[in-house]
């Protein structure tokens, strides 16, 4: 049964293949459409810009707490993303609540940046950004 009402953001998270990106505190997916400007001698007269849909693109980002190799979890962590970024590996990412009937956004994405932050008396945290390559597919979890 799908989630009713507004979905709690805590439950919606990024999974690499089927493994959660660990200790995430927030996840974002951005989908945008570039616009083609239609400018001709006929349309320029009124002074208003005309556009039509261009290329679609997507990005992902997440913020998470950092855990090193000593962490007792199987989740996808900073070190795994580091390896992927250096290798330029395209990862299969799913953005979902994992609840039957809810949406699952599936895409292939390459990790483009990792920012590791270590402040005095603060949790070590990082943010990761991904560029989607190809289409973002929306399905319903069966």
């Amino acid at each position: 049964m799908p989630t009713t009402g507004i979905i709690n953001g805590t439950l919606m998270r990024l999974y690499k293949d089927s493994t959660a990106i660990g200790y995430a505190t927030s996840c974002q997916m951005n989908i945008s459409s570039a616009m083609r400007e239609i400018l001709t001698k006929d349309s320029a007269a009124g002074g208003w810009r005309e556009v039509k849909k261009g290329q679609l693109s997507g990005t992902l980002s997440t913020e998470a707490l950092y855990a090193g190799p000593g962490d007792a979890s199987t989740n996808y962590l900073f070190d795994d993303l580091f390896t992927d970024l250096v290798a330029g590996t395209a990862l299969t990412i799913k953005f979902t609540t994992d609840v039957v009937g809810d949406n699952v956004y599936t895409m292939s994405a390459i990790c483009t940046s990792l920012d590791l932050n270590a402040g005095v008396e603060e949790n070590v945290s990082y943010s990761a950004s991904f560029e989607v390559t190809g289409a973002i597919v929306k399905t319903t979890k069966a």
Partner: protein
């Protein structure tokens, strides 16, 4: 769902715990790679930052001296009759 590895998986040793998509997790259980800890589990336990506790601040309020006139008198409290 939350699973604990029973066998080595993707270079991770047995005993490690993680959050998996349910479909994939069910297959891991069937294959004997992992055991189920919590079917509805989505978010791992986050480390909690200790917030410093502030001591209560007592602010002296000025009162007239007459406020203390009855300070030495015993309060007339009577027990209610049963």
């Amino acid at each position: 769902m939350k699973l604990r590895l029973l066998k080595e998986w993707n270079g991770k040793e047995p005993g490690k715990v993680g959050v998996f998509l349910s479909e994939y997790g069910e297959q891991m259980i069937k294959d004997g790679i992992a055991e189920l800890l919590d079917e509805d589990y989505v978010v791992e336990q986050m480390p909690i930052k200790e917030e410093p506790q502030q001591d209560p601040v007592y602010i002296p309020i000025p009162v007239p001296m007459s406020y203390f006139n009855d300070e030495t008198n015993k309060e007339k409290i009577t027990k209610p009759k049963k």
